[in-house]
């Protein structure tokens, strides 16, 4: 309403008015406001990224600053792609990604569906459920090592209590077959609330008139669930999967503290492997090529996924 008054009085757009008043023009003010952020991001994000790409073609090592740096072309890339161990860490990462996403989507959606039944006090319980994801993954990983201790750990004790197994007969983080599950459990504990919140937002965005119409058509509850609820929540779910996928692909802090990649290298996800190459073996050039491959992978997968997401949204 006010806007039309402005237009009538001044006979011009608000932008034009702004230009006439004293002070900076909108355009220069816009640049003044945006530039510092862009400059900082270029300096601390893009410049290092370009540097990483450059290093990836060399045999540079940070711990030998005086050694001669040679340009080695694609050698680093080729040796990474043909390295069996790296494919194993990729497999470990894929295993971790798939299971965490499956579990978090199933549990997260179910919880959101239940919370949406609007029982009394659900706000309080939602807040409690949400707490873990706001904590520091490194600190969380560290104290879960305590919960996972055979004998004294709460987790083993609870499992023993429920199944009758001897709590000291298994070690979640010491056993090769259990360690991947140890990290999957903690990640699910931490991040299911995230999926839950997004699903809840999705469920609440469905207008009740759609259900009313379905009710008039005498569609069964089951049918309503599959033809209304699921398709309308799907874009939200896919967004949650995208966020979790990107985050878990670069997962580092939680796993470093929880298992450190062990036992052996069974939980050595790509980030941990990369850290080992870069900051323990100090093969800087090689690690840079590795980093570039990972970044391109995340970026590529995310772009394809976002395209699919947009298609689902448009339906």
């Amino acid at each position: 309403m006010l806007k039309s008054t402005v237009d009538r009085v001044a006979g011009a757009t608000p932008h034009a008015i702004a230009k006439r008043v004293r002070g900076l023009s909108d355009r220069s003010l816009a640049w003044l406001f945006v530039a510092p952020s862009i400059v900082l991001l270029l300096a601390v994000n893009i410049f290092p990224l370009i540097w990483t790409v450059r290093l990836s073609f060399t045999n540079f090592r940070v711990n030998r600053p005086n050694a001669e740096v040679e340009f080695v072309g694609l050698k680093n890339y080729l040796s990474i792609l043909s390295d069996k161990d790296i494919w194993l860490t990729m497999q470990a990462t894929a295993h971790f990604l798939i299971w965490t996403i499956v579990l978090q989507v199933l549990i997260g959606f179910s919880l959101a569906y239940l919370i949406n039944k609007k029982f009394r006090g659900n706000d309080l319980w939602t807040t409690i459920i949400v707490l873990p994801m706001m904590l520091s993954p490194a600190v969380v990983g560290n104290f879960w090592t305590f919960l996972y201790q055979p004998q004294i750990g709460l987790f083993n004790y609870a499992v023993g209590f429920l199944t009758g197994a001897d709590p000291s007969s298994f070690s979640m983080i010491g056993d090769v077959s259990l360690a991947p599950w140890a990290i999957i459990i903690v990640d699910t504990w931490m991040w299911t609330p995230f999926v839950m919140l997004i699903c809840l937002a999705g469920l609440r965005s469905i207008p009740s008139s759609i259900y009313e119409a379905a009710e008039c058509d005498r569609a069964s509850k089951w049918r309503q669930f599959w033809t209304i609820t699921i398709p309308l929540v799907l874009p939200f779910l896919m967004l949650a999967v995208l966020f979790r996928g990107i985050e878990n692909f670069k997962m580092f802090d939680l796993v470093v503290q929880l298992t450190g990649g062990g036992p052996g290298s069974i939980t050595e996800l790509t980030s941990i492997n990369l850290k080992r190459e870069a900051f323990e073996k100090w093969r800087t050039g090689y690690a840079s090529a590795y980093a570039v491959i990972l970044f391109v992978t995340v970026f590529g997968l995310a772009s394809i996924y976002v395209k699919a997401l947009n298609k689902v949204k448009q339906r």
Partner: protein
Amino acid sequence: MSYSVTEPSRRQKWFAGILVVGYALITILPLVWIIATSFKSPSDAIAYPPKTFFTPTVEGYVNVFTTRTRLTEEQLQAVGEPQTWYDKLVRKDGLVISGPSRFAERFTNSVIIGFGSTVLCIVLGTAAAYAFSRFKVPLKDDLLFFILSTRMMPPIAVAIPIFLMFRSLGLNDTHAGMILLYTAVNLSLSVWLLKGFIDEIPVEYEEAALIDGYTRFQAFYKVVLPQAATGIASTAIFCLIFAWNEYAFAVLLTSGNAQTAPPFIPTIIGVSGQDWPAVAAGATLFLVPVMVFTILLRKHLLRGITFGAVRK
């Protein structure tokens, strides 16, 4: 807007309530356990079966803030009677407090770097968000996407060049360096979130101010800023929490001077093996502020963690 036509029946509500409460109790259990552990004595902490009931003690908290040494009988005689309650507490095991631990220092670093980067993040973010929200910025969509995409990078992928860059600039292991780095890390969150909040403030307010003779800049800080205050506050808390929780850069780029608490807490070792109550005390002190913030942030939580991509 209500979700279903037929309000869920009492039975459905009960069923949903029980399942959700059950899940919430399982979820909160590890946290309750860690807080309880921080008040246990070292022997209670490693008792089998795990102890639910115990005599609370602040030993863990004393231990996390101090370093202790074990003395022989004669040496103990020589230092005299314990003076304070914490002296008495550690003396029971033949130990004396030999000085402060580095926990307080690390914690202070977390506070300085967390708040420093948050302030910077909000200043830069508010300005950029305002410009993106109100002006015709060339390549607006591309720039916004570029800002968001900086979040996709694994920290380790850029850690080496940042390490080299900081080394040549003298920023390695300094507060300023870490503040700058965390600001860059959180800027995408800050810009996207604040843009969402500022978009919601009607443009008419500013236009009215402009007609009253305010300059654009005056309109920005006299009209928009007060309106955006809640949004700015919650964005600040999100930035603070992310910087507070960050681990990868902290462990890779700092070694002593500017190291924050997350890399330090796991390294707390007692006189004889891992001192779990002390670790738990450190973790509790570190986690409690975040828990409080989470409760305060309830309303904006979804927006904050999804960069404003999803709204409740």
